[in-house]
Amino acid sequence: MFDIIGKRFWYFLISGIVILAGIIALFVFGLKPGIEFKSGSEVTISFAQPVDKQQVIQALADLGYGSGSAIVRKAGTDFIFDLPELNDAAKAALRTGLTDKVGQFQDGGFQLVSAKAAADTARNAAIAVIISAIGMLVYISWAFHRMPNPFRWGVCAVASLVHDVLVVVGVFAILGGIFGWQVDLMFIAGVLTVIGYSVNDTIVIFDRIRENQKKGISPDFEAVVNYSLVETMSRTLITGIGTLFILIALLLVIGASIQNLAVVLLVGIVTGTYSSIGTAASLLVVWRKGEWGRFLHPARA
């Protein structure tokens, strides 16, 4: 029998390190806002021939969009530029200039965002996450209302949800710092999906703990939790791996435009699977056993 839950303080340590790294990255690099979260124009174009990124950056600089005002992202022959707000005349000038300096291309898309709309989007995304978390807390507390301390189950599930959101945001801060990845609406959609997955995964484990506790397989809560984790382990892994297959296919086939969504989900499913055990179930045991003081002395755990 594997002793999974006995290593709970190690899980807290690992989570703590990952989240701390993310928070440091958040402070050092910040999140790179995508077009929806800042004002300006996003222009997507597709060159007829493969084009060197440096050449495009140079051409944009010559047209008056230097590194201060232009961000250039490349995905195959597709390029995405973040530029200041452009009107039709400026767009036409940009089109002619790029054709002259770089080569023929096809227009892909154009997006204009005002500063007001950007601020609204960022605020709304935060509201969505918070309201979802509260909804989960209420439902889980209700679903486990026949158990002693139903509120604890809800709190532990939401704690693992918050854990996952923090990890995903932290990873994106790091990716943003290193590769210049931006946080856009797809990222938000991904985070909301991760919330769903995380809670789903936690509930399956909680449900098994509830069932085993009712059966009274052991008077020791820790043993009940551990037994439940072992029983559900293969399901946890298989569902996780199955979902990852589909995600990897999305990432490889669709590429840059869905990159954010797919990577958020990849990270989220890994951390969501981990946190159901490492955060939700572990916290439940810590709470039940009143081990909060041992957080300060994990070495004795």
């Binding site: 991904g190 559900t232 791996i241 589909i246 296919a249 086939v253 869905i258």
Partner: protein
Amino acid sequence: MSGRNTLIFMVVLTIFVLSLFVVFPIEKGKLGGRGIRLGLDLQGGTRIVYKADLSGVKPSDAAGAIDGAIAVLENRINPMGVAESSVRRLGSDQILVEVPGKSLTDAEKERLSRVALLEFGELATEGEEAKWEDELGKWKPATAVIDGQEKELTSAYFKENTYVRQDNLGNILLVFEWNEKGSKLSEEVTGRLIDKPLGIFEGDAPLLGDDGRPIAPTVKSQISTNGQIEGLSLKEAQTLSKQLNAGRLPVPLHRTGDEKNVEPWLGADFVSKSLKAGIIGILATMLFMIIYYRLSGFIASLALVYYAVLTLAIFKLLPGTMFTLTLAGIGGFVLSVGMAIDANVLIFERMKEEMWGGRGLGAAIDAGFNRAWPAIWDSNITTILAGVILYWLGSSNIIASDMAKGFAVTLIIGVAVSMFTAITVTRTFLRPFVGTGLARHTSLFAPYQRKANV
């Protein structure tokens, strides 16, 4: 096979065949002709957000004014010949316009949101308060007293039958007819202004002719029933005529600067790639399930195909106002496929335990399904709950985001269908094996036995 299971089997099979017909119609008839409504990011098109200037409207009339503006915008977009365009309220004072499959220029966007109210003016005398000023001088609204009230002469008194014609000299004429009140007003005003110029203004600016100069004809005779405006370009005259007929906006609209345009080829690219990715992903998952769960896994794979076909059929059948597939929605679909696998995995794991415990296939199926049910229910309900919250936020003033709504609906439908396929379809397909020779080979249904010991 018991009689009851045969019946369920037939129902399940019928639903599948019907779904197949919806997804892959042989004849593009009533059902088959409908496509999944694609969001702008997948279909290409233009999205514009206008903000209404409600400063001149009483707070109690604000909602009515916005509804009126929406109706007018719809009337203006419809003649563009774009199917499925949508005009909706966003928040308290914004209007979202989506025109699929078409890129609008700045000029077209401005034209779409013009108030289309022409105001007539007369030259202001020294010391009088002027409303407009142009190269011809200072102007004040041309007014007349009717029924004891002073009224301004505007196109609000036009009948909705203006049209454009060319006279013998090739001049473009925008012809209009006054309604009853307008006739009286016009009689008074033009009677007073004979041999004087009559200015025409739209908003803060004079109406400009094809030559770029303000249009301000000199009144030659009293006008009572109908009149004409000369000097506009043909295109301008036609647009203006259409807009005058379609009604003027009750409130001025301004572009908020929240705009998006996706070229159709980019959207089509996403669709074909998503489809390919979905097929590859589902095939890989099926292979994995078959390797891990053998015969059960094969049946779960059938259930997964069933799931994909049924979900697509529902996407197709839902009205466009309820469901729009966006790139983010594809993400929701992926998660729901994960859930569909999960329900099967939960059931098979329970079945495995039952069969290791020595039960026969039939008993193991029943016990496995019954014992897995609470976990499937609770976990899926929390996901549906997240979806419902997101949908509510997406349609409310708080978030008002199509992306959020599309994602939420995909997720909710996906999870609901996955519960049905995992429970009903998988069980129905497994049942026929009960009592056959295959059922004795436990390893086909519950492979990889490890002794669970506490």
